[in-house]
Symmetry: C2
């Protein structure tokens, strides 16, 4: 049967999200090769024969962005025959939530953070991949307080609430949010205060290293929206 070659090119692509300047941002690289030369893309690269998919993702990330030691999770595999205009490339997408202050990401004209809700034109199906990572992030938020992985090590509850509101795209009640957050295991109240604003300083909190998927199963409840 013609057209049925059994080998394909396989890449990994990595969506890295953080919160920076009060916005959810994704790390993008500018492509310097065809196809999509000079378009922005999420960092990615070919999987080598000797490595598994996780290893490939870690290596590619290091090569492209010099970012290391972050939690990566496999997201979804995209394999539309037309997703790459030239050849057949199947990509296994990964995603990560990071604290941008934890990494010395030297941005440049070719490597930069972009607001997730205000993306430039992207190469391939990378827009779809980012959308999907957002969906997954929301699912994670409903399960456990992973937002702390996005915020600085020390954060105010208002910052955390803003992060939730940004990702879930809905307003939360301040008192209910705080009530719930402070019962979260691993959260530690500090005797320090942020003085960034010129108004009343906010108490800082931090998260002790906690096991994910811990007792508190559902952190932010799903909305009971009428099956939209």
């Amino acid at each position: 049967m013609f057209n049925e070659i059994k080998t394909h090119e396989i890449t990994v692509d990595i969506v890295i999200l953080t919160i920076k300047n009060d916005a959810l941002q994704v790390l993008l690289v500018k492509r310097n090769n065809e196809p999509f030369k000079d378009k922005w893309a999420i960092p990615g690269g070919y999987v080598r024969m000797s490595e598994n998919l996780d290893e490939a993702a870690i290596r590619v990330l290091k090569e492209k962005t010099d970012v290391e030691n972050i939690y990566l999770e496999q997201l979804y595999t995209f394999g539309d025959p037309l997703r790459h205009p030239v050849s057949r490339v199947i990509t296994c997408a990964y995603f990560a939530l990071i604290r941008s202050e934890d990494f010395n990401i030297v941005t440049s004209p070719d490597l930069a953070w972009h607001k997730v809700f205000d993306l430039p034109p992207l190469a391939f199906d990378h827009k779809e991949i980012i959308q999907y990572s957002l969906k997954r992030t929301r699912e994670r938020l409903e399960m456990c307080p992973v937002a702390y992985q996005l915020l600085n090590e020390k954060f105010t509850l208002t910052e955390m609430q803003k992060a939730y509101e940004m990702i879930m795209e809905k307003k939360l009640d301040k008192r209910n949010f705080r009530k719930k957050v402070i019962t979260t295991e691993g959260l530690r109240e500090l005797n320090e205060f942020s003085k960034t604003s010129s108004k009343r300083p906010a108490r800082l909190y931090t998260f002790e290293t906690i096991k994910l998927n811990s007792k508190r199963a559902h952190f932010i409840k799903k909305t009971t929206n009428p099956t939209s």
Copy 2:
């Protein structure tokens, strides 16, 4: 750089679960080629250049088992370099929950249902893939009453509870279970009774075709087990 050929063989493998004879079972095929000749495996096959991953899964399933028109969901992509003893094969695993009565699956010495908790030796990493599908099924059950996809079209609440208990591997309280189930949208009480047992007949229920991920978000609550 040697050893860094960029193309790989890609397969799809499909975990099909059902409940049959009071047990959670998975459909397996006996391999008639090396490697793992005569070992059981989940149905799978190579992805063609012209089809996307979903299409490949649907086609392979039809070819190997003659099963059509079922809901397939991408599960996870397994890409360990050593998962295939001969060549580099990355597999994109899918899973499905079906009502065995809905399909005329002609079992044979080469195609048969096997109890998930009592599997024969399996080819490749297929045991791991089945374990992972079980995890995903549990997550689905926590979200919505997908068990109805496993049961016959008409089922008793006891059957449904047994399905839940089997998949979640824990006992549920009969009264609480029923109380919760009957509030589920889409469940319809029938004026028919099962007379399979020689004891008091049980009322039959059915599910109207409902949209998944509907209002009732969390169907079976997560256990608050002490972070085992």
